[in-house]
């Protein structure tokens, strides 16, 4: 069963966002998403310093099954990307909420986080998709 950590916010497009203590936001894809995609073989990440818009394209995940666009849950400037994923894309499957994170950004409007789904609502959305 997929996990839905209570401290994260989720986008309907299956990315998660975590507000860090320093005010930055870390982004990845949900456990539900990685399960649905199957083994991840490549991850294309945004460039550091790129300006992303909420719901705007931020990268691509290629799995054994399909290529999927990744959208940024909030607007902001990318300050760090997870370069580990270049050689070890399987981390996305193994630890989607930890070592499998995608990028970190400085949000331009942290209120945008409030428009994302809480874990309970997101879990409900996934259950509806499954059935």
């Amino acid at each position: 069963m997929a996990e839905f950590p209570a401290d994260l916010k989720f986008a309907k497009t299956h990315e998660w966002a975590r507000l860090e203590d320093d005010g930055t936001v870390t982004v990845g894809i949900s456990d539900y998403a990685q399960e649905a995609l199957g083994d991840v073989v490549f991850v294309e990440l945004p460039d550091v310093d790129a300006a992303l818009n909420a719901q705007g394209e931020a990268g691509v995940v290629e799995s054994v099954k399909a290529a999927s666009d990744i959208y940024s849950p909030v607007s902001g400037i990318v300050i760090e990307i997870n370069t580990e994923l270049e050689d070890k894309p399987e981390i996305v499957n193994e630890a989607p909420y930890a070592d499998g994170w995608f990028f970190r950004l400085t949000p331009s409007d942290s209120d945008e986080l409030n428009s994302l789904l809480g874990s309970t609502d997101y879990q409900r959305l996934c259950e509806e998709e499954t059935h």
Binding site: D39, V41, F42, E44, V64, A67, N93
Partner: protein
């Protein structure tokens, strides 16, 4: 709810992700498709392929019927139990299906695809009229494939001594009966192995015996990447009724001499007018994955499209089969609005765990 093989409960117990496959509820993977793929390349794995259709053709007229039905020459099967891979064509030379046929005296055993089951049975029965033979689907059976460099060693340790003796006597691409079990040295992975056709009631027992020996089940996801690496076509993706075997990398399985077969005139006409297209292998060493229906360009001009593509776990880059018009120049594939360079190669890509492709 689709059809279920006798091993369905085993898949669920093993944690399989079940998907619909041609009307069957089949395991696509049991956790990691790539892990399963690598296990078959490096060691051994077992597959439930009971969804495939088994057709018996019995009687003195069987050979004459198959000589007419198949583009390959059934006359090649002179040794008991020998197998032949062939296309079955319509009058236009289009591929109705690809199949494996085994000889047993006057009788033949054919394994055809599951998605083409009804069409094939209807076609074969229609064509069989006037031939002294009986066509029937073999029901109540399961098919288990055991594949990988250690497959033969493993299966011999699991089965009874009479089955073991049979396996030891078989050559590659040959099968034989032991009671109601039919065992053949065939597969769809490019590795050593056997396929066992056995009564449904025996299937769970063999599956459990293999499982107790530590043999892991392999899903249809890895089956697809294994066959693609091995350069084997998938019916419905790499060829169908709209194309002939001559443009499907199957020319070596077509025998024009010795027999009259359905579709022969159309193939002769195609040869006369010139073969314009070919099914080739593509290799992309850049990051990304080639997938079915991505367009292929030669010096900027569209020349065809990918018919199947995947990330190759063995080679650690993407490979594909593509049908393209004959052309000389730099090939690229359009992936998400970007043109990426690819190399044209002759399949297979991988045999017995090693890269074998050569640049064309």
């Amino acid at each position: 709810m689709g059809s279920k093989t006798p091993l369905y409960e085993q898949h669920v117990e093993a944690g399989a992700k079940i998907v619909d496959f041609g009307g069957w509820d089949m395991p696509v993977h049991y956790g990691s498709q790539i892990g399963e793929h690598n296990r078959v390349r490096q060691d051994v794995g077992m597959f439930d392929v009971s969804h495939m259709t088994i057709v018996d053709i019995r009687g003195a007229g069987s050979k004459a019927l198959l000589s007419r039905l198949l583009a390959n020459d059934i006359g090649k099967l002179t040794e008991k139990g020998k197998a032949l891979y062939s296309a079955m064509l319509n009058e236009d030379g289009g591929v109705l299906d690809d199949l494996i046929v085994y000889v047993d005296g006057d009788d033949y055993l054919m394994v055809v695809n599951c998605a083409t089951r009804e069409k094939d049975l209807r076609w074969i029965s229609e064509q069989a009229e006037g031939f002294d033979c009986l066509v029937s689907e073999r029901e109540g059976f399961a098919i288990i494939a055991i594949q990988g460099p250690n497959a033969i060693t493993v299966i011999k340790n699991v089965v009874q001594s009479d089955v073991r003796a049979l396996i030891e006597s078989l050559k590659v691409f040959q099968g034989g009966y032991c009671g109601r079990w039919f065992i053949a040295r065939t597969g769809y992975t490019g590795e050593k192995g056997v396929e066992v056709i056995l009564p449904a009631d025996d299937a769970v027992g063999l599956w459990r015996d293999l499982s107790q020996r530590g043999i892991q089940p392999i899903g249809l996801g890895a089956r697809d990447t294994l066959r693609l690496e091995a350069g084997m076509n998938l019916y419905g993706s790499d060829m169908d009724e709209s194309v002939t075997p001559l443009i499907s990398n199957m020319a070596s399985t077509v025998v024009m001499e010795n027999h009259e077969f359905i579709g022969k005139a159309a193939l002769q006409e195609q040869v006369r007018s010139g073969i314009e297209e070919q099914l080739v292998g593509l290799v992309m060493t850049a990051r990304g994955v080639l997938r079915a229906h991505y367009p292929v360009f030669c010096d900027g001009v569209k020349v065809g499209e990918i018919t199947s593509g995947a990330f190759s776990p063995t080679l650690q880059h993407s490979v594909a089969l593509a049908r393209i018009s004959k052309s000389q120049g730099e090939l690229t594939v359009e992936i998400r609005n970007k043109r990426i360079a690819v190399q044209k190669v002759t399949p297979p890509f991988v045999r017995n765990g090693k890269q074998v492709y050569k640049t064309q």
